[in-house]
Symmetry: C2
Subunit: 456 residues, 2 copies
């Protein structure tokens, strides 16, 4: 089972090195220096007896314990030998990070197929080759050369390591947390569907996201996707949608990219969330990671920026959605907190002088209003009246916290450099932040789409 890749009691790092000039170093460091790691680590390197404070062994065979997982970092020509040793050692799972196989030429394809054949015959599963690795942030295991993101409820499987890395960077910056991560590389054994099956069962995984270029087992992929999506929001982005992209993808993983129109139909039919850009992808992940599904489709917007209200209204309309109408009761409730100039109409423009306290009060009134299902606080961060850059965000999140986080909140905050301060608060509060009206409107759309599909 794929699950065993993610909960190893023992890990052999084959090609471990303390030399920061060598490729294997980052994976070694990411594993060894993670203070949360619970797995026992065995560096393998015939030239060292000790690596980063751990006893090192000449080969996996020499390790005096059973090995659950071997991470292979050695140059491509040495990989088949290491795989043979892993088979001899009865290692349970193998991740081959090393590149230089099927993505290069026919010979590489043959070599990788031979490794897969031998290993699977012994019940050993392989991820890779040509991948950045895997992680399970729950147990502090980062067997990859990507940064360790904060801990959270999102799990990702990706056919592009660098795309995964770019997403992780972006998410880490936004405080968005991960549970599992796997980059599959050339997929000589474990494939996307295997990961989906695992994510479906894995309790720590609450949001599933997939970047794919080619699907090898269409029918099984579709059936599994349908099952996962039923119980967990599942977000799909495909690279190689066009013929030009498909050509690039074939050079990238050595496989023929799956036709997009049929994949698109399948993803929609399964009820998963289809994205067509990295920005939409990260936006959808954020929406699902932080928010419960809305009860209905009525979006309440309040803002200190008239232009943003206009743009958000446009974006919402373009997605087929609408702003919530305000009840008389709601208007009365917010009356003490908005200046008389403010017209209490939908796309509530509280004007530039509105402060954090007003944001708190209006947000609270919206969370308590039975006619509003999704709350969108929106601010261009003011640099006047001695306002703090984060007071509006803090006000809105305080209202969300005090009302038990029962409705989705999609805060739009805009402001260049000052955003760093707001993002810090977002990370501390474990709350989302969106960078433009369009992002938040897209987030509302994916939440409402899922609500309509699965919670009638």
């Amino acid at each position: 089972m794929v699950q065993h890749f993610f909960y190893p009691e023992t890990i052999a790092i084959v090609g471990a090195t303390a030399d920061p000039k060598k490729f294997g170093n980052t994976v070694t460091v990411n594993l060894v220096e993670n203070e949360n790691v619970t797995s026992k680590l065995f560096p393998i390197n015939p030239k060292s007896s000790e690596i980063l404070g751990l006893k090192s062994y000449p080969s996996v065979i020499d390790v005096p314990k059973e090995i659950d997982l071997a991470i292979i970092l050695v140059p491509s020509k040495a990989v088949p030998i290491v795989v043979d040793q892993c088979i001899e050692k009865k290692v349970k799972r193998i991740v081959i990070v090393s590149a230089g196989f099927g993505e290069i030429n026919e010979e590489g394809k043959m070599i990788q197929e031979e490794m897969a054949r031998k290993a699977t015959a012994e019940g050993i599963r392989i991820i890779g080759p040509n991948c950045v690795g895997i992680m399970n942030v729950d147990i502090g295991m980062n067997a990859s050369f990507v940064i360790t993101p904060p801990h959270g409820n999102v799990s990702m499987v990706t056919q592009s390591g660098s795309f995964g890395a770019a997403c992780l960077y972006e998410m880490e910056w936004q405080g968005l947390g991960f549970s599992k991560f796997a980059n599959l590389g050339n997929m000589i054994d474990v494939n996307l569907t295997d990961l989906l099956e695992f994510f479906k069962e894995d309790e720590a995984t609450q949001v599933v996201c997939i970047y794919l270029e080619n699907v090898v087992d269409g029918r099984r992929f579709y059936e599994t996707l349908k099952e996962v999506t039923q119980i967990k929001p599942t977000i799909v982005l495909k690279g190689g949608r066009t013929s030009a992209g498909a050509k690039a993808a074939s050079s990238h993983t050595g496989s023929i990219a799956t036709d997009y129109s049929s994949l698109k139909a399948a993803v929609k039919q399964a009820g998963a969330t289809l994205c067509e850009s990295m920005s939409d992808y990260v936006t959808a992940i954020k929406a699902f990671s932080y928010s419960p599904l809305p009860k209905g489709n009525r979006v309440g917007l309040f803002t200190n920026s008239g232009g943003s209200a206009v743009l958000f209204s446009d974006n919402l309309d373009e997605f087929g959605l609408e702003l919530a109408e305000f009840s008389e009761e709601f208007k009365e409730k917010i009356d003490p907190y908005v200046i008389p100039l403010v017209k209490k109409v939908i796309a509530l423009d509280m004007i530039a002088g509105a402060r954090g306290e007003e944001f708190y009060q209006v947000a609270k009134a919206m969370f308590e209003d039975p006619n509003i299902d999704i709350i969108v606080p929106c601010a261009v961060i003011p640099t006047f009246l001695e306002m703090e850059p984060d007071e509006h965000y803090k006000g809105a999140i305080r209202a969300w916290n005090e009302t038990g986080r029962k409705k989705p909140i999609l805060p739009i905050f805009m402001s260049g450099k000052l955003m760093n301060q707001v993002k810090k608060v977002a990370a501390e509060e474990n709350a989302p932040i969106f960078m433009s009206p369009k992002e938040a409107a897209f987030a509302a759309k994916v939440l409402i789409d899922r609500k309509k599909k699965f919670q009638k």
Copy 2:
């Protein structure tokens, strides 16, 4: 002429205050504390004799010099009196920042119309009311409550102050410089077309950008837009594209939003660049601000990230564009700088180990190649092999600099927190940076569109 708003020798700040708790303070500070300001400043406040080190006067009438420009910051009910005093003083131009007029009710509409009538009868032009102000970064004049951006070649006229502020924040963060900025508010006199006419003639303005909600003089706007666009790239974003957005816009500026389908047709016909989101808008501004127009439409991509190459190829294809084919000569030239694993095909994937020096060499080969018109270096910033987060960016920009910046460069760099370091280099080098494959593909599209339209 509108030009006089932007080159005043003397400015009266009516409602100037040193109290940071008051609204007028930010405008006062932005004007007085800008060390580059060349205009002579006269704070007006009946309750002070000195403000921020400058002698203050009870009213404009008391100033012992001619006043070219008056910035009005006093509460709405006092504005008509101040305007009368400005007329008496024969002030040449007035910017009314104060809100509380036509955007509020019919009475406000009448009051603002009366002010406009009186002033224009005396040849005095008015910008506002209900606006964040204007700036001319060339002469250090920031008569607005928005931050002062770096100095550059972009001029913006916007019907939403906060949208303008959000763009300025974002651009400042990215090191993108401004020349002129004007937020028009309720447009009781000076309108979008007036600003366009000015930007057309203004030498420091090389890129024109417009955010609009309603156009009051359709035919004249169209004719002027057509003239400006002929000589300067002109970027248009409209708020209130949908009926929901139009409703929000009407609440925002007190005017009826212009129908989008006819505006869209007019903008395209004029040859301007139409955007439909803030992200596209900033992307287009960046593209035109830094880059010469390309000679042709052949886009050369190189990257350390296979997935990004796939996504960029998709984006390009979706915009109807194509990657450049590589000549044998080009392949030979780059051969020493890419490892043997790298296939020298379009969407050049140099694999994760590629360093700044290789980025430099490959970029240089592309700049020197007559078959490549636009160069796109793309990196997911590596955190291994002791690489510096900015070495790839620096390498690409070095090649751009050494080849005389004759071709557009559209660098895609992805990496969360580490981006701050790369952005700093971009600002120092006065060079662009794009955050995703889609952004850079859109930038290529707008450059190529303009090239096709105006440089056959």
